[in-house]
């Protein structure tokens, strides 16, 4: 594919949207990767021949998916308002989450994942505990108490937020008739640090495809940072890979195809495996952007006075 002119890059050659090509030089498209592989690493005089193109395509996409999971650092972010239902539907290209935050008063507050379950399925039970069944043999379900009380705000929290049993003020105060502290000040001895967070909590229901929050998150803005697999909703024309990983991807496809082929000598497979592993390490180091300037900023902290 030809290089873009500066007019095409900056202004999309006058077409809309004009920012369509911004930053595109960092990436190489899936089609280019497959074409280059067929040209350079496949054929009569190469290690790989007589294999259908769909195998090359499959391994290329699998390689891109794996890179998206941990190496690329291409984190997507989606902001949605959480309404009274206290759920946040996971994005269509969601694979795993990185951070869930509450955006309030101009600050982004990272939220804590609740260590306790906050949503459950419930079966409809009679007064004697027997279950009811539908005509198709499935059990009759009902909203769980856990869910209804979480949504209504009746559910108590072990976290130090508004739903805490002691109004967020755990501790004994000698001068208070209720025996509870009134202010969130002073030392707290024996505090469980795992649950010592003021913010709303959440838990991800992967199968249901939602994030369930506690009731303190109602009508608040939520920002989900997550990773995808880079498959761009199945549109091959939009799938791309950072150029720093291009060589690794060729090595990965070579290894994957040799590894899956009958009769290839073990030393050839091992050579391909080592090649792709070292290229992955190199690419990860490159993309981590360890600059002296950034290290310097962090190391300046070593001279800080601590009381």
């Amino acid at each position: 594919m030809a290089y873009l002119s500066q007019y095409q890059y900056y202004d999309n050659a006058g077409a809309s949207p004009n920012n369509a090509n911004w930053g595109s030089y960092q990436y190489v498209s899936l089609k280019d990767v497959v074409t280059n592989f067929e040209l350079m690493y496949y054929g009569n005089h190469s290690l790989i021949n007589n294999e259908p193109r769909y195998k090359i395509l499959f391994h290329t996409k699998r390689g891109i998916q794996e890179l998206n999971y941990d190496a690329f650092k291409e984190i997507k972010a989606l902001e949605l308002k959480v309404y009274d239902s206290l759920t946040f539907t996971l994005p269509d290209d969601y694979v795993n989450w990185v951070r869930v935050s509450l955006y309030k008063d101009g600050y982004l507050r990272p939220l804590t994942e609740n260590i306790q379950v906050n949503s459950a399925e419930a079966y409809l039970q009679s007064s004697t505990g027997t279950l009811s069944f539908n005509a198709d043999g499935t059990v009759v379900t009902a909203p769980s108490t856990l869910d209804t009380q979480r949504v209504s705000g009746e559910q108590k929290s072990i976290y130090l937020n508004k739903n805490n049993a002691y109004n967020n003020q755990v501790g004994i105060s000698a001068d208070n008739p209720d025996g509870r502290k009134d202010y969130n000040i002073g030392a707290r001895y024996g505090l469980n640090t795992e649950t010592a967070n003021f913010n709303p909590t959440f838990r991800i229901d992967k199968k249901a495809g939602v994030i369930n929050f506690d009731s303190t998150m109602a009508n608040e803005q939520c920002v989900l940072e997550y990773i995808s697999d880079g498959m761009e909703g199945g549109d091959d024309a939009n799938i791309s890979v950072n150029k720093l990983f291009e060589e690794y991807l060729y090595a990965y496809v070579t290894y994957a195809m040799l590894n899956g082929k009958f009769g290839v000598q073990e030393y050839i497979i091992n050579r391909a495996r080592k090649n792709k592993s070292s290229l992955l390490r190199n690419a990860k180091i490159r993309i981590s952007n360890i600059h002296p300037g950034r290290l310097l900023m962090n190391l300046r902290g070593e001279n800080k006075w601590i009381k």
């Binding site: 089609k31 769909y54 499959f58 498959m231 091959d236």
Partner: protein
């Protein structure tokens, strides 16, 4: 070349008074011999590639595989395929593209005159699996095709325009036809300007192979075992020299 081949064949046959072959018989044998040699190009080419992989083949003037590629490419054609129905198209044939195909090398898929991708051949046993795969299902960038009967089916079915599909293929060589003018009380005289005249389409260095092949067929025809054996032996010697 066809007249030279015929003269050589007749000369060898007549030398030992084995007999005479008529122009129509010669044309039949010539067609068969040409097909044999044409088919052999691909096996020879494959053998040479294997030699290259085994590093027992040279480059430059010693690159014999390149010569075979060039000869095969003489029969290369690129034509738009005629649509049969939706995403099905007729394979190249005399009635659609003007020539029968020996093998399909490349199928190019376009939409609105813009080339989008080269389709890959997929066996009929795999196409359903391929279509049901999220990662590899055929799409505009990576189309696929299957062959069935005289038809080629393109996937995805969005390629369904009358001029969307183009194929690059290797056609069969045209049947040679030694044309002549009837001469009373004499041999038929060669007539190169006849409308149905067709020379051999193989390269000139295959002339000896053609002669030996035709001799074998002619020897069988006139029941002269020696003539057939002579042709076979000569051909075998030639092959040994090439290898």
């Amino acid at each position: 070349m066809i007249n030279s081949v015929r003269n050589t064949v007749l000369s060898i046959l007549n030398k030992n008074n084995y007999g005479y072959i008529s122009p129509s018989d010669f044309n039949l044998f010539a067609k068969q011999a040409q097909l044999d040699i044409f088919d052999d190009y691909f096996y020879q080419y494959n053998q040479l590639i294997n030699q290259e992989n085994a590093r027992i083949s040279g480059t430059g003037y010693a690159d014999v595989a390149k010569g075979y590629e060039e000869v095969i490419d003489l029969f290369s054609m690129t034509n738009t395929l005629t649509q049969s129905a939706l995403n099905q198209y007729f394979l190249p044939s005399i009635s659609t593209t003007g020539d029968d195909y020996y093998l399909i090398n490349k199928v190019l898929c376009s939409s609105g005159g813009v080339l989008l991708g080269e389709a890959e051949k997929v066996s009929n046993s795999k196409i359903n699996l391929l279509n049901s795969s999220h990662l590899t299902s055929p799409n505009a960038n990576f189309p696929a095709y299957t062959l069935q009967g005289g038809l080629i089916t393109i996937f995805p079915s969005s390629f369904n325009g009358a001029t969307d599909i183009e194929a690059q293929y290797i056609r069969y060589p045209k049947a040679p036809n030694w044309t002549y003018i009837n001469v009373v009380n004499g041999d038929p005289a060669f007539n190169q300007s006849a409308a149905d005249f067709q020379d051999f389409e193989l390269s000139p260095d295959d002339e000896t192979s053609l002669v030996f092949k035709i001799l074998q067929y002619a020897g069988m025809s006139i029941r002269e075992l020696q003539a057939a054996q002579f042709g076979a032996e000569q051909e075998q010697m030639e092959e040994q020299n090439e290898n």
